[in-house]
Amino acid sequence: MPLLSVSDLKTHYKSRDGLLRAVDGIDLVVERGETVGLVGESGCGKSTLGKTVLRLVDPTAGHIEFKGEDITVLDQRNLQRVRRSIQMIFQDPYASLNPRQTIGEILEAPLVVHKVGDRTERRQIIANIVAKVGLPAESINRYPHEFSGGQRQRIGIARALLLNPELIVCDEPVSALDLSIQAQILNLLLEMKKEFGLSYLFISHDLSVVRYFADRVMVMYLGRIVESADNATLWSDPRHPYTRALMEAVPDPSRPRQAAPLGGDLPSPSDIPSGCRFHTRCPLATDLCRADEPEFRAIAPGHQVACHFADRIN
């Protein structure tokens, strides 16, 4: 049984421009001990998907199963029980830390909510976790503004680890950090994964980070997964034109400059194109693509693509 299994998940919002289909029919599995990378550009729905998995946002349709239990139907009390096991790390740790609380107070809150231990035991747990994430012990008496961006992300990681979760949804955890600090945080996440036997759903717009960090990668475009494969396959044999364009667009010192691979902008998720949702920007689009939405199908074991022409691309 997979740790997390999401089937035909939809999260739609009502907006002024009509129905916004942020997540629009997604199947996703995270196995125990696995890191699944979720890549896409802004507006593709990847953050909404992450929040829906924790039920911070309620899905419109579909099911989320955590260790075989359907959590889409749980009431708040039972949901709280499950949330001990699924935690989240955010892009901007400063925005997710209360500026008026010390780090000790911030870290104690989840333990109190989940009724873990007495005061002394809680202090011990906090001291342990603070040391694990590489912060000095006296940090617990200080306030968020006294820390650098990288240290704040360590606090965010400490908070996520407090309740011994099994799955952590990481939403752009290093995007706001300087390059020299990114490596520190990625290494810390890897150590924690090993030590606590964690699984990650790792959401990022940065392909190079995902390439290093993920076991399996899913590429998302306008609310749907367009390609999914294990890490090595995706990079050696990408089959969706969007995946290829994303890879080519990353400026890379080791190869000469190329023309921008894609024209145009991402269409609005409240006005999703007919047929294949990528056809308005796709260099290979035909009448078929404008009319029929391609099925998300396996072209090899463990490699799925939503493109009519996936077999012809290589």
């Binding site: 390059l179 390439r211 090595a232 023309a259 921008a260």
Partner: protein, 332 residues
């Protein structure tokens, strides 16, 4: 011929800090110079100093900025206003905060033309449409009456570029112009900047934290750390054979540059600590994080030395990795 812009020993001081110290570089007509550094490196303050738009608390304590034969640090506000937007223009990271949300983009572009080129309202509008076409905005006749919120992030940055190049400046300062944009849009905007640079014979100072962008778009690179220039090189040299321990650390820490490197192969190379450790450091600002630091590194700020043609590095202990077998250099 004198360079278009020459910065000599620029030192910027706040009452209690010196965010930029003894910075020198120059840029030729039509050239793209990249200034690369992380937050706290002083790269954005340097850009503001070139525009003479430093925050009030900051003072140019020393140095000269010579542009077209004139020292910008000696110009008064009126003279500088005359230059800004006409000969030197700037674009910023987040176009939404630089555009006026209650004014159509046509009027915002037209404003520059009315002020600097004394165009009438009708002529300015015509020219605004032309400029929108120049920056590849589709249906410019319609878009000219749009408000900023009606445009995507990439389109807004194109509008900023249209405003910046309206008077055909000789120098464009682009401060993280694509950092807020998605990677496919970033490629489009950088393409556009480069095309305009050639068409308008404009020099570009490209300020960025993104090494990939530097490698593909710059003619020359300045690496800054804690307000100091630590290395300068042509992009090819910098990436093939970085000399300063900081540059080496950055390249090693970047997962982008290690194509086949996966977490199962090992951890990423870290630069320990943070840039905060440079505050109050009397010697080399990078010393507290440097894996090659020696006692003498804390004595004084290292001088820039010339290790090869077209190169500068502020570390007396560096040796080219090219001297050791090829494999070591490849692993960077």
């Amino acid at each position: 011929m004198a360079p278009l812009l020459q910065v000599d020993n620029l030192t910027i001081r706040f009452p209690r800090a010196e965010p930029v110290g003894n910075l020198s570089f120059e840029i030729e007509q039509g050239e793209t110079l990249a200034i690369v550094g992380e937050s706290g490196s002083g790269k954005s303050l340097t850009a503001l100093a070139l525009m003479q738009l430093l925050p009030r608390a900051a003072k140019i304590a020393n140095g000269h900025i010579t542009f077209g034969g004139r020292d910008l640090t000696k110009l008064d506000a009126r003279e500088m206003r005359h230059l800004r937007g006409r000969e030197i223009a700037m674009i910023f990271q987040e176009p939404m905060t630089s555009l006026n949300p209650v004014m159509t983009i046509g009027r915002q572009i037209g404003e520059v033309l009315k002020v600097h080129e004394k165009l009438s309202g009708k002529a300015a509008r015509e020219r605004a449409i032309e400029l929108l076409r120049l920056v590849r905005i589709p249906a410019p006749e319609k878009r000219v009456d749009d408000y900023p919120h009606q445009l995507s992030g990439g389109m807004r940055q194109r509008v900023m570029i249209a405003i910046a190049v309206a008077c055909k400046p000789k120098l464009l300062i682009a401060d993280e112009p694509t950092t807020a944009l998605d990677v496919t849009i970033q490629a489009q905007v950088l393409d556009l900047l480069d095309t305009l640079r050639r068409e308008l014979q404009m020099a570009v100072v490209l300020i960025t934290h993104d090494l990939g962008v530097v490698a593909q778009w710059a003619d020359k690179v300045v690496v800054m750390y804690a307000g100091r220039k630590v290395e300068q090189a042509l992009p090819g040299d910098l990436f093939n054979d970085p000399l300063h321990p900081y540059t080496r650390g950055l390249l090693a820490a970047s997962p982008r540059l290690k194509h086949d490197f996966h977490y199962r192969d090992g951890a990423l190379t870290e630069i320990p600590g943070s840039i905060v450790s440079a505050v109050g450091e009397a010697g080399c600002p990078f010393r507290p994080r440097c894996n090659q630091a020696r006692a003498s590194c804390s004595h004084h700020v290292p001088q820039l030395i010339v290790p090869a043609a077209d190169r500068l590095v502020a570390c007396p202990f560096t040796t080219s990795l090219k001297a050791v077998p090829h494999a070591a250099a490849l692993s960077l």
